[in-house]
Amino acid sequence: MALQILTANRLIDGDVVYWHAGAWVEALGEADVLAHEAEAAAALDAANASVAGNLVVKPYLFDVRKENDAIIPVKEREIIRAMGPSVHADLGKRAEGSTPASILKAAAARDQPGASPCPKERDNEVSI
């Protein structure tokens, strides 16, 4: 399976949290990277218990990839959750210093002109 990280939002303030060693942490860099289905399923079960315990809401797993030993979320959405709004460098996790350097680097590369060029084969499959 793809590498995964378990995330949720904290009930009391909505802050983004990640699963680490049976508890929730605020920095993606500290999150457990789950490599096996059984491991991911067990973590999700435990997370559901912490939903019942009123600590977090909406737990789910998301895919990450390994790039030179650094962990980068596959989806843009999770990069933004790990950083805060891209249009406010002064707010959110990046401003609080809890975004891993590897993600900051990936986001900076993404925002360079010329990044994410159009795929060779364009398609209209995206349903709107």
Partner: protein, 552 residues
């Protein structure tokens, strides 16, 4: 402005305390998230990407100075110092903590504000023309009608569990500044040949996954029958709207499945039944009572001279950001919330405070929120314009771009929103920076760019002269370009050009499309006029640039 009566005030205060108790029970674990979620949504509280978001209703977009100050206080005390005006004339705060929401709502209640019916499958906050009461071209102020609808629709027991949300707009002018025909239902106040005012009722418009323009179901509804007729529309929808499929549940799907004739007939049948019962008539005395709250200020008899200012920036601002007022010597002024490179619709706490002071200083009672995410000063004395402009400049609120290409509507997109597929704001910022030169903006003229980060279309991309829709392809942001939409009286649904663009290509594509327009246009043609004359092809031929050849 409308003021709460004792019933309104008691009800809103009671609602705050109910929600306070519900939050306490949630935090203690006495309510599960599944039980609590509908309760928080009924109070405008969403959970977004980074935090909770509180959406506060601004009925028909009208705010007083004390309300502006309170919004500033909420921004400072419970948020991170700023708020965001939306395309439904509401304001959202992005960083609210669940534990603080009851206190924030209590603060809001103290200035007659709340977050009720800003979410959920109910009749949402009623919007109106932001030039209401000031426009030179209106039949009457549409807001008393909007207020009547607000009172009727607030907690209407029959309509708290509709198939889907329901949005109503009210205008009273031949110039549509409220995107009337994209609403579930809309009320257009019109005058007939006999000089009487009545209501033209539109039904079945919408954006989102399946955009439709509304059609007329009531040609001239008499004044006492307004609520009975709207109730008939709601009954047809409530009974026949699809509850089996979330994507087909809006009234637009029902209205266009039934067709105009059948929809009119069913509505009329319900209307006759309601009317036969006879109790849903708007009493003239009540209408007058409400109207009195919206009475315009006494306009002084002033010369209609154009104001002069030593500031060379003033003329440009006055040229784009002021509009003709019904009273001589007065003007309507748009405060742009679209600084070049800024976040469309965002406003800081100190700006909110300062605008409240500005209202006081110049004897103005109210300010308006436009669906284009700007603020409007509806009744300004022309002679005060230079001083107002000077103050707005100090507040960084004097961008002279109302209606121009950098006056872009953008939803919060993937920077904040849980539903978004792609970011909207950075695209808006990129485009605004490219067209920052004011001479270039004026040369291009009226050109409305509207950007949404997902198909739900909060950024009104279907109604953009140029629309941009963000999509997600395997976790990467792509953007569809649409041309030819309009949310004005010449309403039209924009057409998708073709394959999407990468995040770094979309602004280039917009530049190429605009360059093509400048070459193709005839004298006096806006972008939209040229598009309508020449069609998509000439724009499509240039938009993809070199990439088109690489791709095909």
């Amino acid at each position: 402005m409308y003021r709460y009566d004792e019933f309104d005030a008691a009800f809103v205060a009671e609602r705050v305390e109910q929600f306070r108790f519900q939050v306490e029970r949630r935090l203690k674990g006495e309510l599960t998230e599944d039980q609590f979620k509908p309760l928080r949504l009924m109070n405008g509280l969403y959970l977004q990407l980074h935090a909770y978001m509180l959406r506060i209703a601004v009925p028909y977009g009208t705010l007083s100075a004390p309300q502006l100050r309170m919004l500033g206080r909420i921004a400072r005390k419970y948020d991170k110092g700023y708020g965001h005006f939306t395309t439904r004339q509401n304001i959202q705060f992005n960083w609210i903590k669940l534990k603080d929401v009851p206190d924030a709502l209590a603060d809001l209640a103290s200035v007659e504000m709340h977050a009720i019916q800003t979410s959920g499958n109910c009749i949402r906050n009623v919007t109106a023309d932001h030039f209401a009461g000031a426009a030179a071209d209106e039949v009457e102020d549409p807001r008393p009608t909007a207020e009547l609808i607000r009172q009727w629709s607030s907690l209407h027991p029959e309509f708290v569990f509709l198939p889907r949300k329901f949005k109503i707009a009210v205008i009273a002018s031949p110039h549509d500044r409220a995107a009337l025909r994209f609403h579930d239902a809309a009320v257009e106040i019109v005058r007939n040949e006999a000089g009487e005012t009545g209501y033209r009722i539109h039904v079945g418009g919408g954006m989102g996954r399946t955009p439709y323009l509304s059609y007329v179901v009531g040609d001239f509804v008499a004044r006492p029958d307004l609520l009975a007729f709207l109730e008939a529309v709601m009954r047809v929808y409530n009974e026949n709207g699809r509850r089996d499929n979330l994507f087909k549940a809006r009234i637009k799907i029902l209205a266009h499945a039934l067709g105009q004739d059948e929809m009119r007939e069913r509505t009329l049948r319900e209307f006759k039944e309601i009317k036969a019962q006879g109790f849903l008539e708007v009493p003239e005395a009540e209408r007058k009572r409400i109207e009195a709250y919206f009475a315009p200020p006494k306009f002084e008899d002033l010369p209609d001279d154009e104001p002069q200012s030593p500031d060379p920036d003033f003329a440009a601002w006055a040229g784009t950001n002021t509009h003709r007022h019904r009273a001589a010597g007065h003007a309507i002024a748009t405060i742009s919330l679209k600084p070049i490179g800024g976040v469309p619709g965002d406003i800081g706490a100190e700006q909110l405070d300062a605008l409240a002071d500005l209202l006081d200083r110049f004897g103005m009672d109210e300010i308006r929120v436009s669906h284009e995410q700007n603020l409007i000063l509806p009744h300004v004395k022309k002679k005060d314009l230079p001083a107002i402009h000077a103050r707005l400049k100090e507040l960084k609120l004097a961008t002279p771009n109302a209606g121009l290409i950098t006056d872009i509507i953008a939803c919060p997109g993937l920077d904040y929103c849980d539903l978004a597929n792609a970011r909207s704001i950075p695209v808006a910022q990129d485009i605004a920076r490219r067209f920052a030169d004011l001479g270039r903006q004026h040369d291009i003229g009226e050109l409305k760019i509207k950007i949404s980060g997902c198909i739900n279309a909060c950024g009104h991309h279907h109604a953009g002269h140029i629309g941009i829709l963000g999509v997600d392809k395997k976790g990467v942001e792509y953007y569809q370009l649409l041309l030819g939409g309009s949310g004005a009286e010449d309403a039209a649904i924009a057409t998708i050009m073709g394959p999407g663009f990468g995040a770094h290509e979309i602004a280039d594509a917009v530049e190429r499309v605009v360059a093509a327009y400048l070459k193709l246009r005839n004298d006096g043609e806006r972008f939209l006029d040229t598009y309508r004359r020449v069609g998509m092809e000439p724009f499509k031929n240039v938009a993809y640039g070199e990439q088109l050849h690489a791709a095909h």
